[in-house]
């Protein structure tokens, strides 16, 4: 469709005119401006909702909201075209069969072996071995080898040595969805463990010997403690209400040596609504501080994040400080349980704060334990009541921790944002379906590619330059400040306002420091090489008594120009009184984005939806300007444009 306008969210005056394309996998908007032809790509799987707004004099507005929080406002001149686009997008954004998803057609040009290797990058067996299992207390069980006991669990589960198949099967019959207690994390220093399950089908008075024996087995697997915590992550009221439906929670009288604890985290419906409200706040046009803070509080979002974090902290403390094992469950044990177990593991074990370890963590507690990715993130068109930002909340918890402990994580914010993006993008096969069983039936590993391999290949983009294994933060358990700490929870504008360039610091500290690190390394290597040369020269010139002055080839000065002027920013509308100023030419806007697109060749092939999006996160363009050992510096796009902004040439 031609002559479509793409509006800028913050400034309705800045509209780009271009052509809208619909393909089998993407919506693409290409700007008419001839030099740049900036492209905006959106994957259909990212589309969360489409809203057709009232026709105005300028055309028919269409608002596309994405699962990665991008909001695209288009204005289509003809009503009929707008309607066609609307209907098409509705259909395209709601696939009915898995085969319609992008991952089945995505082709990164790797051969079969490379694809296989990609899937082998994360191996859970290796992970449990790393933890120290099997050992005297824990072993692997194949009781679920054909998914006969629990179809949402993996074929390989880890259980206490004293839990026989009979006990496991018996216990599974007493648990919602048959999700019996299984090992999530084992701490070899003190034998404490984190186990997870779903709620017991206890009703008001039902008992199950095998289930009680299962919990005893977990307790016995930790000789250092004579009791275990049982943590129910639901609010007490909800858990009690479940009893009327024949489910419920563990009665301390029936289970010997347990200490029961509620940690109230709300359910998926509350979380879905919370996110919705927060996004409404994000969509406010030029809100006051008051509107924003009230709106944010009203959504309850940060309160929920804190609740998840507090639960993780409680469990980590129980394991690390008290040496007590914990059994965690919610209702079905695949949402709040996953969140809380993975936060706790992250706090406890520095391995999960490495890039590889984090991938392993997600594979373990989310993928293998049957988190319902399809239902929660809408791979296929389904029940809207199943949709909920569960893993988004976990990812945000990680970000909040990164803000409190800047040196503790090997990866950076961009890593988290890209993972979240791909959970919804369906470009890779890792997060499809609802269980391992479904994925194996669909032969996902033979027909799609692994995100982990892709991220690993690009890991240089995802490193945290401040990470050092010998810092106090990187070792051992992370201990976030408990109270008072409300203020420690910040609004994550990097995620929820990801595509609004004007909001973010224009200069990325992470990218700059990575460039510095790289350069330092190169210089050190150069220095070493020169030192060797010098030594050789000195040896061969024994007659020369003059002291040689070390001449370092510093012609390429360390001109790491951080103030990249193609990022020269423009003032937003500070004056609410628009009549104050006649509108300035829009040429000063967006000059940075054009440069971004042209240099991102490698990104474009693997991340078509990310590369052409003018989001500030990838600072690759900056790097090409800075690194003196790199090729020529990209001349600033706007060097001729605006005489006000001086051009700063990087050496």
């Amino acid at each position: 469709v031609e002559n479509v306008r793409l509006l800028d969210r913050l400034s309705s005056r800045k509209a780009a005119l271009g052509t809208l394309y619909l393909t089998a996998t993407h919506v693409i908007f290409v700007e008419n401006v001839s030099e740049t032809r900036k492209e905006t790509w959106v994957l259909h799987s990212q589309i969360s909702s489409i809203e057709k707004q009232a026709t105005t004099a300028t055309g028919c507005p269409l608002l596309i909201r994405c699962k990665n929080f991008q909001v695209i406002q288009l204005v289509i001149p003809q009503e009929r075209d707008c309607h066609d686009v609307y209907i098409s997008l509705i259909r395209l954004a709601r696939p009915v069969k898995y085969e319609e998803l992008y991952c089945f057609s995505f082709n990164p040009k790797l051969d079969k072996e490379e694809r296989e290797q990609g899937w082998k990058l994360v191996d859970l067996n290796e992970e449990y071995n790393r933890m120290g299992i099997p050992n005297n207390y824990w072993q692997i069980s194949d009781v679920n080898r054909d998914y006969g006991v629990c179809d949402s669990y993996p074929t390989e589960v880890y259980v206490p040595k004293s839990a026989t198949a009979h006990i496991i099967v018996g216990s599974s019959k007493f648990r919602s969805r048959r999700r019996f207690p299984a090992l999530s994390y084992y701490c070899k220093d003190n034998n404490a463990s984190i186990c997870r399950s779903s709620q017991p089908l206890s009703g008001f008075s039902a008992r199950c010997l095998e289930d009680e024996q299962m919990l005893q087995a977990i307790r016995k697997a930790n000789p250092g403690s004579d009791f275990i915590y049982v943590v129910d992550t639901r609010p007490k009221l909800n858990a009690m209400a479940n009893r009327a439906a024949g489910k419920g929670y563990e009665n301390e009288d029936n289970y010997s040596n347990i200490k029961f604890q509620f940690i109230g985290i709300e359910n998926i419906h509350v979380m879905r609504n919370s996110l919705q409200k927060m996004l409404e706040v994000c969509e406010l046009k030029s809100p006051s501080m008051s509107d924003f803070l009230w709106g944010l509080e009203n959504s309850g979002w940060l309160k929920h994040i804190k609740a998840i974090m507090d639960a993780g902290i409680f469990i980590a403390k129980a394991v690390a400080e008290e040496g007590v094992s914990v059994l965690v469950h919610c209702s079905d044990g695949w949402d709040r349980t996953a969140q809380v177990c993975s936060v706790a593991s992250l706090l406890l074990d520095p391995y999960y704060r490495t890039m590889k370890g984090f991938m392993v963590l997600i594979e373990k507690d989310w993928v293998s334990f049957g988190h319902k990715f399809n239902h929660r993130y809408g791979n296929l068109d389904g029940d809207p009541k199943e949709i909920s930002p569960v893993i988004d909340q976990f990812i945000e918890c990680v970000w909040q921790l990164m803000e409190q402990f800047p040196c503790a994580f090997e990866f950076n914010e961009r890593f988290l944002i890209h993972i979240q993006h791909h959970i919804y993008s369906c470009q890779f096969g890792n997060f499809l379906c609802n269980s391992q069983k479904e994925r194996r039936e669909l032969k996902i590993q033979e027909r799609t590619y692994s995100l982990w391999a892709h991220l690993w290949k690009n890991r240089a983009d995802y490193l945290n330059p401040l990470y050092r294994s010998d810092q106090s933060q990187t070792q051992g358990t992370l201990r976030p400040q408990m109270a008072p700490c409300n203020f420690l929870y910040k609004f994550w504008s990097g995620m929820y306002n990801r595509f609004e360039k004007g909001l973010h610091p224009r200069q990325s500290i992470t990218d700059y420091l990575m460039a510095v690190k790289e350069e330092t390394q190169q210089l050190e290597e150069e220095l070493e090489a020169l030192g060797e040369r010098l030594a050789n020269l000195q040896k061969s010139q024994l007659n020369d008594n003059k002291v040689k002055r070390k001449q370092q080839d510093r012609s390429k000065q360390l001109g790491l120009s951080t103030s990249d002027n193609s990022l020269a920013n423009t003032p937003q509308e500070y004056s609410n009184d628009l009549k104050s100023f006649p509108s300035r030419s829009p040429s000063q806007g967006d000059e940075d984005d054009s440069a971004l697109i042209l240099t991102q060749d490698n990104l474009k092939s693997s991340d078509p939806d990310l590369s052409a999006n003018s989001d500030q996160e990838s600072g690759v363009e900056d790097l090409s300007c800075r690194s003196p050992s790199g090729g020529g510096c990209l001349p600033s796009e706007d060097s001729g444009k605006d005489s006000d902004e001086a051009v700063f040439l990087a050496v």
Binding site: S290, D291, L293, K303, P484, C485, N486, L503
Partner: protein, 332 residues
């Protein structure tokens, strides 16, 4: 950019030829200037009743007046006190924290101050017009705006030395009454009428700029905290008294003479010693010749944790991060 106090128009709409001429010399024939009045239009109008007022359009035809009300005086001090109370209140739950924060209004004041300074900067940089800033007395919100606008516009004000010069010029010599304004701070029960944290608001705004432009200021948070401390209580004479006259000659005949320059040491002299100075430098600094335009959206304005939670939460992990940044940059 010019600053002044309010014109004494009064209820009878007095005119002053000299004042009109003075402002007239600033603009060329046909040129336009902006007056940024830091009072609301209504407050400015009411000021006439007590002898003050605004510049009437007819007498100052080339000047366009814009009102951007900024909080000052008692309400600003109350805002500060409430914020500090909220930060220290360990009983607040997460589901009340943000509204409590909002009710202090401090962040709204930061947003308003930054917006107004950006407006002044925009007038000069984008409209290429001269700007006159004044409130009522010209000693509080006026200085906030002119000083902040210069940090935004002028890269030399973002150097360590340049920033000190800016403070000397726009706050100290311009006559911000430090002695009255920075008296007892937020914990005191004595609610002094003249006390108001304008200078802290300025430092907070500068901190917001440093967060949004991490490479563009030669100094770091530590300098801002040090300035905050010294404005209230100092071993140095730099922030003493209320204006140059008091510092040199004293207040009235018969009162003790301060002779600040003769009897005290200067904070700047101490800060600029090589051993001290390096503690205040920003390891990420790289001179940025451009104007830095901050975002004033609520998401972009954050609570200055380094100041308001200074004694409440450990800065250990953040300090480690900065040490690592320092190490990386120096290693290069």
């Amino acid at each position: 950019m010019l600053r002044s106090s309010q014109p004494l128009t009064g209820p009878n709409r007095k005119r002053c030829r000299e004042d009109e001429m003075l402002l007239g010399t600033v603009l060329d024939e046909g040129e336009r200037g902006f007056i940024i009045d830091t009072r609301s239009a209504q407050a400015a109008k009411q000021a006439r009743m007590t002898g003050g007022g605004t510049e009437p359009k007819s007498s100052y035809p080339q000047w366009r007046r814009l009102h951007r009300p900024l909080e000052r005086g008692r309400p600003l001090q109350e805002s500060f006190i409430k914020l500090v109370e909220a930060c220290n209140d360990t009983s607040i739950n997460m589901d009340r924290w943000l509204s409590r924060l909002e009710s202090c209004r401090w962040l709204s004041h930061v947003k308003a101050a930054l917006s107004t300074a950006c407006l002044a900067a925009q007038c000069m940089d984008r409209e290429e017009a001269s700007v006159l800033v004044h409130g009522a007395e010209g000693t509080d919100t006026t200085l906030l705006v002119t000083a902040l606008a210069q940090v935004i516009l002028d890269p030399s004000c973002r150097t360590l030395v340049g920033f000190q010069g800016l403070l000397e010029r726009e706050w100290i010599q311009a006559g911000h009454p430090f002695h009255l304004r920075c008296a007892r701070s937020a914990y005191s029960h004595a609610r002094l009428k003249q006390e108001a944290p304008l200078f802290l608001l300025f430092l907070d705004c500068v901190w917001q700029l440093s967060r949004q432009f991490p490479f563009s200021l030669e100094f770091g948070e530590r300098l801002l905290l040090t300035l905050f401390d010294n404005a209230y209580a100092s071993a140095y004479g730099t922030f003493l008294c209320n204006n140059e006259k008091e510092r040199r000659v004293g207040r009235e005949v018969g009162t003790p003479q301060c002779h600040v320059k003769e009897s005290t040491h200067s904070l700047w002299a101490w800060l600029n010693q090589p051993g001290e100075r390096k503690k205040y430098l920003n390891p990420l600094y790289s001179p940025n010749a451009l104007v830095i335009w901050p975002s004033v959206e609520p998401q972009s304005i954050q609570l200055w944790q380094g100041l308001f939670f200074r004694w409440i939460r450990s800065s250990q992990y953040l300090d480690e991060a900065w040490a690592e940044i320092q190490r990386l940059v120096q290693g290069n």
